[in-house]
């Protein structure tokens, strides 16, 4: 259908605006703090076939998740009819799932009795049940320890809430009132989006709006194809490894073969290691997110996110490997650790193809530290150095690739927890040298003031360093110590679960990024600046 250019633009603004509004409604109506501080939610509209049309300020880890959720949902539903007023909730790994805390609400939108679109709200619930509060069990060996699995459950119809299903969920998660608030918040955001889509459809006609949806996808597809076509054809292979799964000591390999042919490319993960016993497995939807992230960042960062972007890509993930494990495998850490390593493997593969855009490897970990005392649970994600690029040094002390969570201020930590933070600073000398050097990691020292506490870590790059590119040197690994420099100094693993005493000082030093190009080629000017600023030791 031919859409006039003015209607297309006005509808575009209206539809994007709806996706943005959903986010605010969600933040206002749900149990707000987590979403506001960490931004761990995604809102989207899809067309009637589940193709992603518009996504609010997107969270990279949810890219592939949001583009698959409704399609998998429709497949699962089969001939079961959908009706106006229905809102389904699911966190099933098979329905676009990434890990159990990310719960999606899905609402079909009808205009004139015809299915036109879906509104989808993904929100990270602070708890989905399982063996530990917060549903973050770094020692899980099966998914049952990670929480309640929900296939698509119709929690709402036009007649109201299904109390039985609602109760089933609320009986199996911690923080009943808050979770109920989250559920109603997700529903509210879906409902408001539906009303606004209906308004727009009534104004321009449902068929015109369908035509606009198709055109948005086409535009993004055209742009991504043009971007892929600019990449030299070839078969590119790359690998990277996870340190270990926290149970066995051996590394897990992630292998990818990227085939670029004209304006399309295939990402084949054959050759990756079998699934792990510990929770570093992840789902093929997370792998898609990582592929889309890598492709967007390397090929064309500014394309509006929708299904059209992804049409030029094929993602192949063999069953039974740690990127697509058999049912029952634990996955909670894979969401933010393994996903980042997938990006690193793709970057390494494509480095010869797009040398001016790729970067060396960075910190590449969520850097998660959890300290649980008798009356508190402290949870923090730590950034580190980014890998260097062809003409720029890596960013220092930042979250890498798929994540972007903010830090907790020192003064806020001391206000809420029995800690004194002794230092929070850059880690000079941690960057990999190169013509362009990597970014610096950071260093945080936490002194426990009273009581015993349990320390949990979920941190990668403690064993396998962030690699350099084209002669650049690797960055320094993550190092975790208790009481560094004291007689009772001890090293802590990246997937540890151990106890701390009052007076102990935990010192976390995160990884520096890898360098780019031979260190000997670094300009004297930049070297002098690094010395003057104290970035090198």
């Amino acid at each position: 259908m031919d859409i006039d250019p003015i209607t297309l633009e006005v509808a575009r603004n209206a539809i994007y605006s709806i996706a943005e509004e959903m986010r605010f409604i969600m933040m206002r109506t749900a149990h707000a703090p987590l979403f506001k501080e960490a931004g761990d939610l995604s809102c989207a509209l899809t067309d009637a076939e589940g193709r992603l049309v518009a996504q609010g300020r997107d969270h990279p880890i949810h890219l592939g998740v949001m583009s698959s959720t409704v399609k998998e949902f429709l497949r699962w539903m089969g001939d079961t009819p959908l009706a106006p007023g229905d809102v389904y909730f699911t966190n099933a790994l098979t329905i676009g799932g990434n890990h159990l805390p990310d719960v999606k609400a899905i609402k079909p939108i009808f205009v004139g009795g015809q299915l036109l679109a879906f509104s989808v709200v993904l929100a990270h619930w602070p708890d989905t049940g399982g063996s530990v509060p917060g549903s973050y069990n770094t020692k899980a060996r099966e998914i049952y320890q990670e929480g309640l699995q929900m296939p698509p459950l119709r929690l709402f119809t036009a007649a109201g809430a299904d109390r039985t299903l609602m109760e089933l969920i609320l009986l199996n998660v911690r923080g009943r009132e808050q979770r109920e608030g989250d559920i109603y918040g997700q529903r509210a955001a879906c409902e408001v989006a539906a009303r606004r889509v209906e308004e727009v459809a009534q104004r321009y006609g449902a068929d015109v709006l369908r035509g606009c949806f198709a055109r948005f996808l086409e535009e993004s597809e055209l742009r991504m194809r043009a971007a892929v076509a600019a990449v030299p054809d070839g078969v590119y292979h790359g690998e990277d490894c996870m340190d270990h799964d926290g149970i066995g000591g051996r590394p897990y390999r992630i292998a990818v073969t990227v085939t670029v042919r004209g304006d399309v490319s295939t990402f084949d993960f054959g050759g990756s290691d079998p699934q792990a016993e510990g929770p570093i497995n992840t789902t093929r939807f997370v792998v898609q997110s990582a592929v889309y992230y890598a492709a967007k960042s390397l090929f064309q960062p500014d394309i509006p996110t929708n299904d059209g972007c992804y049409r030029p890509f094929d993602v192949l993930v063999p069953e039974g490997c740690l990127l697509n494990p058999r049912p029952g495998a634990p996955v909670v850490g894979g969401n933010h650790e393994t996903s980042r390593r997938v990006v690193d493997a793709i970057y390494r593969a494509l480095a010869p193809a797009v040398p001016d855009r790729v970067t060396a490897a960075g910190h590449g970990s969520g850097g998660v530290v959890i300290i649980a005392g008798p009356s508190y649970v402290f949870y923090e994600a730590h950034g580190g150095g980014h890998g260097a690029g062809a003409t720029w040094d890596g960013l220092s002390a930042r979250q890498t690739t798929l994540g972007n969570i903010m830090n907790t201020p020192v003064e806020a930590m001391e206000a809420s927890f029995p800690f004194v933070i002794e230092r929070y600073e850059l880690r000079p000398g941690s960057a990999g040298a190169g013509r362009q050097r990597g970014g610096l990691g950071l260093r945080r020292a936490i002194r426990l003031l009273d009581d015993r506490a349990q320390l949990t870590t979920m941190i990668e790059r403690t064993v396998i360093a962030p690699w350099g590119l084209f002669g650049g040197e690797p960055g320094r690994c993550v190092r975790i110590r208790v009481n560094a420099g004291r007689p009772d100094e001890r090293e802590v693993s990246g997937k540890a679960n151990c106890s701390l005493q009052a007076g102990d000082v935990l010192l976390l030093e995160t990884a520096g990024g890898g360098g780019y190009g031979p260190p000997g080629e670094r300009s004297a000017e930049l070297e002098a600046a690094d010395r003057q600023e104290g970035y090198v030791e």
């Binding site: 006039d4 250019p5 003015i6 297309l8 633009e9 006005v10 603004n13 209206a14 994007y16 605006s17 943005e20 509004e21 605010f24 409604i25 206002r28 109506t29 749900a30 149990h31 707000a32 703090p33 506001k36 990279p60 009132e177 608030g181 086409e218 535009e219 055209l222 742009r223 992230y293 960042s297 960062p301 855009r357 790729v358 970067t359 950034g383 690029g389 720029w392 960013l395 220092s396 002390a397 930042r398 979250q399 972007n404 969570i405 903010m406 830090n407 201020p409 020192v410 003064e411 806020a412 001391e414 206000a415 004194v420 933070i421 929070y424 600073e425 850059l426 950071l442 003057q532 600023e533």
Partner: protein, 678 residues
Amino acid sequence: MERAIFRVGIDVGGTFTDVAAYETASGQLISFKIPSTPGQLAGGVVAAVAHLGTLAPGAALADVIHGTTVATNALIEGRGAPTALVTTAGFRDVLEIARQSRLHLYHPRDPDRPLPLVPRRRRFEVQERVNIRGEVLVPLRVDALPALVEQVRATGAVAVAVCLLHSYRYAEHERLLKSVLGEAFPHVSISSEINAEFREYERTNTTVVNATLMPLVRDYVRYLERELGSQGLGGRLHIVQSNGGMMTSGTAQHKPINTIMSGPAAGVAAARHLMRRLGLPNAVTFDMGGTSTDVCVIHQGQATITAERQIAGQPVRLSSVNIESIGAGGGSLAWTDDVGALKVGPQSAGASPGPACYGQGGTEATVTDANLVLGYLAPEGVWGGSIRVQPRLAVDAVARVGERFGLPLRRAAEGIVDIANSNMLRALRLVSVQRGFDLRDFVLVPFGGAGPVHAGRLARELNVRRVVVPVLSGVFSAYGCLVSELRYDRVQTFFSRLDRETPATLAAAFRAVERQALDELHAEGYAPEAVHLRRSLDLRYVGQTYELEVPLVAPPDGLDPQRIRRAFDALHEQQYAYATAQPVECVNLRLSATIPTAVPEPSPLPDGRPGRALVGRRRASFKECGAIDVAVYERTCLAPGEELRGPAVVEEAWSTTVVYPGQVLTVDRYGNLHITVQ
């Protein structure tokens, strides 16, 4: 004969300097615009005052209230002074680590991420440590300070910022450093004086931004005072702050950061003042200029305030009116993107070359050209004092856009306007949805050259029922300078469980902040009795990581913890649709000290005969009825109570108001235009 004494509001913009002044005895109001001198902001103020002198010979000035972009421009252009930073040992990199997040997720370089304003080589640590309760764990090593002064001096820094951990709780170490560093450096800014609020990165950066601006703003203010003095007109100089209130020139030198939203805040101050006069508590300002549009919500008579914002990419914490700015204005260009879609803005033709119809070399169609083609703007005469408009050029430019898409001229013009409007609708929806406001209860207040052209159409889309085009809309920010009150905002972090407080303990906590505010005002010559204090508390449920600001009614009732608790629950319910029985904790005390400004009642319009304002008819196009002849009115000739039915156009020197089909415009006794939207 007694000299006429004036108060003068002056807003210096990129193209024009706007002036509004009133004679304090008679209340007579004078307003005018003069061209700004590019790169010479202070020159604009001096020229404006000189021009006033020619309009009112022999006049004296009581007050000059000035909205300025001098600090903002310096930040955007990276012209802050070389500055050093002193921090607690172990934390000199807080400024560089920031909040560890990136601006651009998909650009590996994160190209727009601002560099820290103080490079690492100019960041110094001192041995000292205070804990969360304000207890000294490590005393400040005073004997090390002479060496510190020498180290700082060696870097060439001319300003020094100091930010120590928990200094919002215990400021003695910072004060000591200020006294030592102050001997050696003319500009020292300490965080406990600029932003006594917890979360160290934001406090550090705010203090650093302030320090980098101190030399520049001091020179600017001193130059102005000298020039005003040399003209023999007298007058105290005040600067409008980001919060919409004004401050003395002395305070501006210590807290230059408070000027960063000066101009836009003055426009909001004007709208707030006017809406209070009209008894309309809820409004959305809509200031549409050449390249951008600013919108701000006024709720229950107060401009919505934000405690944190970004300026030139730098996050800073200061009280400022919550303005959203989008890159859409009269000069926004229509263009075709790489996949063939029609786009409008954010690129703009700016003031030069300007829209095609200006005939100054612009050839691409802008929103202004489209408005001209549609008959909304005058096709002849002189715009804005100097531009002789050439409709033919607008028609050609818009027609070229049409040809690309196979659209007739009128449809192309409508399309450009529709797309620009849809961009602005997105911003207007966001400012309201973000805070949970329903715009049906609000009026839209357009100003700036293009605002009243678009407001009627946008109001209909938003279900807003009334548009008020204010008098003096052409010099609205200058008028805002004139009506703004002297206002000092303070914040003090105060961690405490609300249920453990009593009215007496809360009063004691506020007293220290109140004393600082009253002392500051006293030093500037204001008696404590003249000061109006407004208190509020930032509160949250225990365990939350963000706060809500709860305004308190006047003591003693206002300090009753149970009453405050109920107010917090109600506000939480309004904003987040739930409240819980969890305990509540205090995070910050906020105090706003104001001295009201005496503003005379505006003089009502003289009673006139309705119908004198009709100056002609012209062809204009509307979606509802196509191209038809519409009546054109001259705003200055409208009589109070006069009523016009749309479609119609009302022209004035600096702006045009479009009354769309089905809308009715009435003129109130002061000359404000009220448009009823169906």
